[in-house]
């Protein structure tokens, strides 16, 4: 049997190996956590839109993002009914307002979504069923996934929304977006009462559902050519992309978290590279001896790669385990969907493997440059 050089090298300094693996684990965990939060944020940015049922969306041409959508006349939306490709249209209004829990005296902004309780505004039937409860004036549905900042509320409680007493008639599960820690659904009638009569006959988002087999891209292009310049039609993909782009590149919170991800990525790569390079450098003289004895650089590279692969595996498994646990804690705290995905696992594993490969390659390049003669 061949001398298990890789295994013996790894076993020689168990404490050093543990510290190396721990360092890599921490760097990997840091990366997983940042990627998880980042993914959660980008998902959150379009959470409301993901719940709404539409193929195309009509928005004001001055639409910036969910919280600054600008209004447009619903006549623009109804005008589109004449297209054969359209199955139905539905105006929705979105705006933030102050939610005050009178019993506890706490006040926080919440996203208020105005809908028609008789229409199927949402993709899920259960949400539409719940939404039908807001027919009465000043009744609202509270999102049970809202963060715990609104105090102890329940069905029947009467919070103050934008200075007006309302009644919570039920709850639903959509999840808070990035704009506010919570979400409430009201009827158009209540929305007008809350935000003023000047909103009557306007919408911030026009949901357009297409007939079967209609091509959203093509229909959107046709409509944009036909509609006045104060509005424009976006596909779901376009709208969600705009929203994410705004979050990541315009909103400070997005820019900060985006930068954090880049820094975490760079940090993880540098730490991994440095740790592995050090590990290899410590044995450079031994590897040079092996090479001097007559073993090829390929053999030495194999030993280095097997060593790094082992270190990666023993550091990756605990990093994944810890990250999944942290995801659960963070999800509970932030109410953002932070879950481990196969794509993320594969991405981080590939990144680590690539970095390790580069580190091993760099180390063996140093070995190539180191004349074995230096051993004498």
């Amino acid at each position: 049997m061949r001398t298990p050089l890789t295994w013996l090298n790894l076993q020689q300094h168990k404490a050093r190996l543990a510290v190396t693996a721990l360092g890599l684990s921490l760097a990997t965990t840091l990366l997983f956590v940042h990627l998880g939060i980042f993914h959660g944020m980008t998902h959150n940015a379009v959470r409301l839109y993901s719940a709404l049922d539409f193929d195309l969306a009509l928005v004001s041409s001055r639409y910036s993002w969910q919280l600054e959508p600008d209004r447009f006349s619903v006549r623009r939306l109804h005008y589109l009914r004449r297209y054969d490709a359209i199955d139905s249209v539905e105006p929705v209004r979105v705006r933030s307002g102050l939610f005050r829990n009178i019993q506890e005296g706490t006040s926080h902004f919440t996203l208020i979504v105005g809908i028609d309780p008789n229409a199927d505004t949402f993709r899920e039937a259960e949400l539409n069923e719940r939404a039908s409860l807001v027919r009465d004036d000043r009744s609202l549905l509270m999102d049970s996934l809202s963060m715990n900042v609104y105090g102890d509320w329940g069905v029947g409680s009467r919070p103050e929304v934008i200075g007006q007493r309302c009644r919570i008639v039920g709850d639903l599960e959509i999840g808070p977006g990035i704009v506010a820690p919570g979400l409430a659904v009201v009827s158009h009638q209540t929305y007008d009462q809350l935000f003023g009569r000047e909103n009557v006959g306007t919408a911030t988002l026009g949901l357009i559902r297409l007939a079967d087999r209609a091509d959203p891209e093509r229909v959107a292009a046709l409509m944009n050519a036909d509609l006045p310049k104060d509005v424009r039609v976006l596909t779901r993909t376009d709208l969600e992309h705009r929203e994410r782009h705004h979050l990541l590149f315009v909103r400070p919170v997005g820019v900060i978290f985006g930068s954090n991800v880049v820094i975490a990525l760079a940090l993880a790569v540098i730490v991994i590279y440095q740790v592995l390079c050090t590990e290899v450098s410590n044995r450079l003289r031994e590897f040079a001896t092996i090479h001097a004895l007559g073993y090829s650089l390929g053999f030495v590279r194999g030993v280095v790669l097997r060593q790094t692969a082992f270190i990666l595996v023993v550091s990756f498994i605990p990093a994944v385990t810890v990250s999944v646990l942290l995801y659960k804690v963070l999800e509970e705290m932030s109410r953002m969907p932070i879950v481990m995905t196969a794509e993320r696992l594969l991405f981080v594993a590939s990144l680590l493997a690539g970095t390790s490969f580069l580190a091993a390659l760099a180390a063996t390049t140093r070995l190539r440059r180191l004349e074995p003669a230096e051993l004498f």
Partner: protein
């Protein structure tokens, strides 16, 4: 007739001065070697160390022949080019100018793969033992054996080689649990275990006590006589001179004046 027999009796006190004298005598005998029996044939070798903007010549047109079954001791002051010559012969360094044929292979135009293949035919004893710390004495020696083949007998062969150097009781010990002298003996066992055609050693007895030195020298002599192996050693140790067939003194990158091929 062995060259060392011509050179001096075993009772001679060996000093650098006497070495030069013996070298001259030894090289007078060089012409008696039958053609084609050389394991090393060097002609006009030049080697410069390049660092920064300048270069330092270390070997200046050195020519040398070393025959089969010959023990040659290279001696001379520090910086005279002994170790550089040894590393060039061992294909551990790339030759810059001149011609160097080792075990029938010309190294002047040899590829990296050719040099690697040649190194497998050579046993190396490094000045610092360069054992692998994670491996036991037996595993260090086995690693050299595995260059040739991986088989069950390797363990026994490694044990035999270690027993030959007086370390039969230290098979399972790691380098950090052995003295420097013991490590050097493991290094010697590693060098001889594959029955190399050429053994290169840099100060092989520097870390050894008298008893171990005698044992190693006798073993080298036996190896050369029994296997037809050749040995070139860089040494300043007067104790090693008695076993030499030839002593070559070097100075300033050349053989000592008066030394023919």
């Amino acid at each position: 007739m062995r060259t060392s027999e011509v050179l001096a009796s075993k009772d001679d006190a060996v000093t650098l001065d006497s070495t030069a004298e013996r070298t001259t005598e030894a090289n007078e005998d060089a012409g008696e070697r039958p053609a084609g029996s050389q394991v090393v044939r060097a002609r006009e070798i030049h080697y410069d160390y390049v660092s920064g903007g300048g270069s330092l010549p270390v070997l200046n047109g050195l020519s040398l022949d070393i025959a089969e079954s010959e023990i040659v001791m290279l001696t001379g002051p520090s910086g005279s080019g002994k170790t550089t010559l040894l590393t060039l012969i061992g294909a551990l360094r790339t030759i810059q100018r001149g011609s160097l044929e080792v075990l029938g292979k010309e190294l002047a135009c040899a590829s990296g793969a050719d040099r690697l293949t040649l190194r497998r035919e050579i046993g190396f004893v490094f000045q610092t033992h360069n054992l692998l710390d994670a491996l036991t004495a037996s595993q260090n020696v086995s690693l050299a054996l595995e260059l040739k083949s991986v088989c069950r007998e390797n363990r026994d062969k490694a044990a035999d080689a270690l027993t030959k150097v007086g370390l039969g009781h230290r098979l399972g010990h790691r380098p950090n649990a052995m003295s420097i002298g013991e490590c050097q003996r493991v290094s010697i066992a590693r060098a001889i275990v594959n029955r190399p055609r050429l053994l290169l050693a840099d100060e092989p007895t520097a870390a050894l006590d008298n008893k171990s030195t005698e044992r190693m020298l006798a073993m080298f002599r036996d190896l050369v006589d029994a296997e037809g192996c050749s040995m070139i050693a860089v040494t300043h140790d007067p104790r090693t001179m008695d076993v030499a067939d030839r002593i070559i003194a070097m100075d300033d990158g050349r053989l000592h004046p008066g030394t023919p091929l």
